[in-house]
Structure formats: structure tokens, C-alpha cells
């Protein structure tokens, strides 16, 4: 009887093919995302102007950043926009999905109508809505033409509500996808849940709120990743619709970064601003992402 001991092979070569196949992912993660981030952070402590150069100036760029009214306005705008956008996309997306899930007729037609703007870019979205919200041509002009002379709906040229003008366009473009994700989630819910809820006499809204939504956690996670990453990165839409105006009322951090890196030719300032953005993202996303995706190793 054989009793020789076979040694554990070098763990580097276990599943070698899987590791080889993952090289693009590993390189992207390490070189582009980590490498690019580290590079950005390092150069945020320099006084680089047009070209990156390693002349360290300590925290100067950060001090300046946090004393710049435009940056502060950008942060505030992004927070308002982000919170509103999250709430509205999730709510509208979910309600629409719930409506479509009532075994209605023409479901696919409605679905197509709600989803099609997703195929259009933010630039296009921004242009169309700029056109529709333009007081001289668009909705305001139309309603006044109907005889309601005092009607005012001029979000893109009014500082206090410009963010809603952008939100209208963003929701138009993005809720379709959210609706689709939610619909898919609803379809994945066991029919028996509905039967049980009906027998127990639980009203429909309660069933949705307390039973169905908690069951859809994975969908909400995916949706959240998609919406939230879109919010942090919002840029094109603002540029196409308002260029950040009027005043600084629709400035966003990504635009600040871009403007200072490229048009102000002050890379150091742009990098400092991006570092702050990255830091915020890291603080919020990493613990969550690790819990969500890191702890799965033990399955099986």
C-alpha cells in the first residue's frame, strides 16, 4: 500500500490558468486604479502647473482648495444633487417597476419608452433638455403661449433651482435602467410571498415596503453601485446643460478637477481636488465593498 507523502504544491501555481486569465484585471486594478491614484495623490503635494513635476509644496494646494468658494459650492451642489438623485431614481425606478409588474398590457412598450433614453449620451441629454428648458423656446414659452402669461419655469437660468433642471435631465436618462433592474428584482421574488401576504391581509404597499424590498437587497446593491458611481462622476451633463452656471450654482467637483487640471493648467490644484474626491469615495465605498464582495470567499 502506498503511503508516500505528497507535498502541497506551490500555491502560486494552483489554478494557474485562472490566475493567468485574471492578469488583465490585476494589472488594471494595480497599475491603472491603484497606480493612477497613488500618482495623483503624490502630485497633489506639488506645485505642478501644465506638466507634472516633483516640487513639493506640502499642503498648499489643499489649503487653497478649501478656501476656494467654487470648490465649496461644487461640494454642496454634488451633495444636494447626489441625495436627490439617489432618492428619486430609486423611488421612481421602483414605483415604475412595481407598476409594470402588475401584469399589465403593453408592458414591453412602456418598458421600451422608459428605457430608451439610456441609449443616449449625457451630452445629447444635456442638449435636449437645455433646449426644452430654454425660456425663450421651451416649456415656459409654450405655456405662456397658451395664455398663462405669468408662468415661469426657468430652471437653467435661476441659481436657486438650476440643480433641479439638471436633475430632470439626469432622471430622464437614468431611471429607465433603474426601473429595469428593479423589475428584474421583482420578477425574482417568489410568487408565494404574494399569496402569503394576501392571506395575511397585509396591504400591498406594506408588502412591498417590508417584505419585497428587503428581499431585493442584491438588486439594490447593484443599482446603488451604478447610480452612485454615476453621481460622483457627473460632468458631461452639467457641461452640456449649464457649464456650471448660473454663477457656481451647478458646478460639480469633477468639473472643478477638469478645469483646474487642463484649462487653468494647474495640475497640482486639480490633483488635490481629485484626491479629495477619491478620499471621500474610499471612505464610503471601501468598507462597504469589502463587506459586500470580500467576505464571499468561504462559500461552498
Amino acid at each position: 500500500m502506498a503511503t508516500e507523502i505528497s507535498k502541497r504544491p506551490n500555491s502560486l501555481f494552483r489554478n494557474l490558468n485562472a490566475k493567468i486569465a485574471s492578469i488583465p484585471m490585476i494589472l488594471t486594478a494595480l497599475v491603472v486604479f491603484v497606480g493612477g491614484t497613488v500618482w495623483t495623490v503624490v502630485y497633489s503635494f506639488t506645485n505642478s502647473r501644465l506638466l507634472p513635476r516633483l516640487q513639493f509644496v506640502g499642503l498648499d494646494q489643499y489649503e487653497r482648495l478649501w478656501s476656494t468658494p467654487r470648490w465649496l459650492a461644487s461640494i454642496e451642489n454634488l451633495m444636494i444633487y447626489g441625495v436627490l438623485s439617489l432618492i428619486f431614481s430609486l423611488t421612481i425606478g421602483f414605483v415604475l417597476a412595481a407598476l409594470l409588474d402588475q401584469k399589465i398590457r403593453f408592458e414591453s412598450a412602456f418598458r421600451t419608452i422608459i428605457l430608451y433614453p439610456f441609449a443616449l449620451s449625457f451630452i445629447v441629454t444635456g442638449l435636449v433638455w437645455q433646449w426644452l428648458l430654454n425660456p425663450d423656446f421651451g416649456v415656459q414659452h409654450f405655456v405662456r403661449g397658451l395664455g398663462w402669461e405669468s408662468f415661469t419655469f426657468n430652471p437653467l437660468y435661476d441659481q436657486s433651482i438650476v440643480i433641479y433642471g439638471i436633475l430632470i435631465a439626469a432622471l430622464w436618462q437614468g431611471t429607465g435602467l433603474v426601473m429595469c433592474l428593479m423589475l428584474a428584482g421583482l420578477r425574482g421574488i417568489d410568487e408565494d410571498i404574494w399569496k402569503a401576504a394576501r392571506i395575511d391581509g397585509i396591504p400591498m404597499w406594506k408588502t412591498y415596503l417590508f417584505i419585497v424590498i428587503p428581499m431585493m437587497r442584491p438588486v439594490f446593491v447593484t443599482t446603488l453601485v451604478i447610480i452612485a458611481s454615476g453621481i460622483v462622476r457627473v460632468y458631461d451633463l452639467v457641461v452640456a446643460q449649464t457649464s456650471g452656471g448660473p454663477g457656481h450654482a451647478s458646478e460639480v467637483p469633477a468639473k472643478y478637477v477638469y478645469d483646474y487640471m487642463f484649462s487653468a493648467q494647474n495640475l497640482g490644484q486639480g490633483f488635490a481636488a481629485s484626491t479629495m474626491m477619491l478620499l471621500t469615495v474610499l471612505i464610503v465605498v471601501v468598507p462597504w465593498a469589502y463587506l459586500e464582495f470580500g467576505g464571499r470567499n468561504k462559500r461552498g
Binding site: P69, R70, G247, Y258, M261, S263, A264
Partner: protein
């Protein structure tokens, strides 16, 4: 038989043209009607030398285009020639050794002898070497006025800034926007920078921008400028356009009374078939202080590996500066040629005014030439906020203005 002959002839033709013709890619952000017509003159002249101008226009202004240019130059895939505003925009690219030195050509052709004012070449000079070709002189100090608008409002066309401000209520009553200013940040800063020499004089202007004198920036002279800016803000409150040429278009169509904009606006009037003095007026220095700033565009030539193309770069540089091209280009562009020795008989009223002032030497440097782009952007941020926020007092704005000047280098 004949066919074969034809084919051979064609082949030889294409062969010769291949041997001598070099494609040069030239990038710029000139895409409005007048600008495109002007660029076409360059392209025509360059193509006439047997080479080929490959046009790489990027719309959306310098802020969209410059990052693309810079990325391509630093990314190792440079174009053959590219536009920058001359001044400090390309300084670092030159220092990094990415741009071509044209000193030799400049000396051979004697640029110093005919480029007027000579200070334009200074903007191209780094460490005593010339790195760019200035191609035009632009000045900002112009107030463009629509005769139609004032006729509609029933008031005479103003002769200076103060009259213009006084006429504003009449224009408004007639449903006309007194002052058109586009939403783009640089237009606001530009307008303010025009107000400084007009209201506070050349000395103050130089103290602030050349010497970066914080005390002057915070002082009473600039306070007057901010008062004027406050007027401008009120007059421009209803101008709902973004692009500068849309604003110009409001003046052309008489929907707005006037616009503070550089001489390039003239190209738009020209394209629209308007006649200076009859359909519109131009007041240099806002009609208060007749002086103009000297700024403009320049072409830079990145270092290339291809020898043919390197040679063609020289051809292009010569063509751009040659007298006929300068005239043709600048007439279309609405700017003043950089050569002091060309005949501008074809120039219209406004351009002649500019040439006069230039000849008298009543010039100031263009603020963007004196400031880094960083400072320019900070000023943009300030004026965007100022113009859009009626609640922001001129005093508050001046405090921040002085702050920016103090920190500028």
C-alpha cells in the same frame, strides 16, 4: 493604348505630388463663421506651396481644445502645429523640450524687422529663443453697439460707456437687453479687464496685472471699476446666451444694445453683411480711454521625428507670417496683422481705428499674457459668481479680487 498613356501620366503626377507634398496636421479651436473663413486662408496659402493642410479643429473653445493638444504633445503623438494664445500657456511645454525652436528661421527671415509691436515676439521667447509664430493682434477693448436696437428704443447711439449706461433703461423699456454677455466665464472676466483701463486708466491696469500690486487692486480706482462692473451686471441680467458669438448675434439682430467683446466680433458682423458706422458702431476703449491691448494667437510647432514634416513646419511658419497671408487671414478674422509693413487698404472703419491707436502706441499688454492660466481661471471663477449673484456686493468682490492678485505669480 491611349488608356495606358493616361494611366502612366496619372501615375507620374501622383508620384511627383507624393514626393513633394507633406501633410501637416494643424490643430486649433477656430470654428465660428468668421474664424473658419480666416483659417481657410492659411490652408489655401499652405496648400499652394504643394503641401497639404490637414485641419484638426476642435469646437468648444480653448478650454475644450487645449487639454487635447497638451495630452497629445505629452503623450508622444504630436500634431505638426497648434494654436495657443500666446503668452504663458505653452511655457512649460517649451521648457520640457517638446516644442521646436524657430530662432534660426526667425533670424534668416528677419522677423524682428517686421513684426509690430516687437513685444509680440517676446511672448514667444523663452531663454532667448523663439518658439512660436504670432499671427495676429487681438484687442479686447471694444464696445459693439447695434444701431437698430437704439433706433428701436428711440435713443441716439451712445458715444461712450457712460452714455451707454444712461441709455440702458430706455433699451429695457423697449424689451431690448442693454448689454449682451455670454455665459462662458472668460467673457465676464474679459469684460471686467476691459473696464479697468477704460475706467481707471493704463497706470492702474499695469500696476495690478504687471506688478501684481495688491494695494492698488484693493484701492479706490479699482473700486470704481467694480462700480462699473455692477452696472454691467445689471444691464446684462437678461442675456440668456452661452457663446460669445450668440451674444454678438443678439447685437447684430438688434435684440441687445451692445456687447463688450474683442475685435474678433467684427468677423461676425462681416459674415452677417453689416457695415461699420451704418449698422453698428465700435468704441475702442469703451469710448473713454482710447487704447487697446495687444494679445493674440500664436502657432507652436511640436518637435517631430519625421524629417519631411519638420521641413514642412518651416514652410508653414513662413507662410503664416508672409505679407499676403497676413492680410488675407486678418481681414477675415477681424484682427490686426502682426506685420507693420502691410497695406491694409481693405480694412474697414473699425479696424482702421485699431490700426491708428496701434500706430500711436496706445497699447497695453493683454491680461492673459501677464497672468498664468491659473490666475485667469481664478478670476473667471470670481466674475462668474459676481455676474450671476446680484447679492454679491462690489466691495466683497473687490476683496476677493485683491486676494487673487496678491497670490498670483
Amino acid at each position: 493604348m491611349r488608356l495606358r498613356f493616361l494611366a502612366a501620366a496619372l501615375a507620374s503626377v501622383s508620384f511627383t505630388s507624393l514626393a513633394s507634398a507633406t501633410d501637416l496636421e494643424v490643430t486649433h479651436w477656430w470654428t465660428s463663421g468668421g474664424e473658419a473663413a480666416a483659417v481657410a486662408e492659411f490652408a489655401k496659402a499652405f496648400d499652394a506651396t504643394g503641401n497639404k493642410w490637414v485641419d484638426g479643429a476642435i469646437a468648444g473653445g480653448g478650454n475644450t481644445a487645449r487639454p487635447v493638444f497638451i495630452s497629445r504633445i505629452t503623450g508622444g503623438d504630436p500634431m505638426a502645429a497648434t494654436q495657443f494664445n500666446h503668452g504663458r500657456q505653452a511655457e512649460e511645454l517649451v521648457q520640457a523640450g517638446l516644442m521646436r525652436d524657430f530662432t534660426e528661421l526667425a533670424e534668416k527671415e528677419g522677423w524682428k524687422n517686421f513684426v509690430r509691436p516687437v513685444s509680440l515676439l517676446d511672448g514667444c521667447t523663452v531663454d532667448g529663443k523663439i518658439y512660436c509664430v504670432p499671427i495676429n493682434i487681438h484687442s479686447w477693448q471694444w464696445l459693439w453697439l447695434s444701431h437698430k436696437a437704439f433706433a428701436d428704443a428711440g435713443v441716439p447711439v451712445p458715444k461712450n460707456w457712460d452714455e451707454f449706461v444712461a441709455a440702458a433703461p430706455a433699451l429695457e423699456k423697449a424689451g431690448i437687453v442693454p448689454l449682451a454677455i455670454g455665459g462662458q466665464p472668460w467673457q465676464r472676466t474679459g469684460a471686467f479687464n476691459v473696464l479697468i483701463p477704460a475706467i481707471a486708466g493704463k497706470e492702474t491696469f499695469l500696476k495690478v496685472y504687471q506688478d501684481k500690486d495688491e494695494a492698488v487692486a484693493a484701492g479706490p480706482e479699482i473700486a470704481k471699476v467694480f462700480k462699473a462692473a455692477d452696472d454691467a451686471r445689471r444691464m446684462a441680467a437678461n442675456s440668456n446666451v452661452q457663446d460669445w458669438n450668440q451674444a454678438t448675434n443678439l447685437v447684430i439682430t438688434g435684440k441687445a444694445g451692445g456687447q463688450i467683446m474683442g475685435d474678433w466680433a467684427q468677423g461676425e458682423f462681416q459674415v452677417a453683411g453689416q457695415v461699420a458706422g451704418k449698422d453698428y458702431s465700435c468704441l475702442p476703449g469703451l469710448g473713454v480711454n482710447e487704447l487697446i491691448s495687444v494679445g493674440g494667437d500664436a502657432f507652436y510647432f511640436p518637435k517631430l521625428k519625421d524629417e519631411e514634416k519638420t521641413k514642412a513646419q518651416e514652410t508653414l511658419a513662413s507662410v503664416m507670417l508672409s505679407a499676403p497671408t497676413q492680410v488675407a487671414f486678418n481681414l477675415k478674422k477681424g484682427s490686426v496683422p502682426v506685420r507693420g509693413d502691410v497695406d491694409l487698404a481693405a480694412a474697414n472703419d473699425c479696424m482702421k481705428k485699431g490700426l491708428d491707436i496701434l500706430a500711436k502706441g496706445n497699447t497695453i499688454p493683454d491680461p492673459p499674457r501677464l497672468n498664468t492660466e491659473d490666475t485667469n481661471n481664478q478670476l473667471n471663477d470670481l466674475f462668474v459668481e459676481f455676474f450671476a449673484t446680484p447679492s454679491m456686493t462690489p466691495e466683497d468682490a473687490q476683496k476677493r479680487y485683491a486676494d487673487i492678485i496678491a497670490k498670483a505669480d
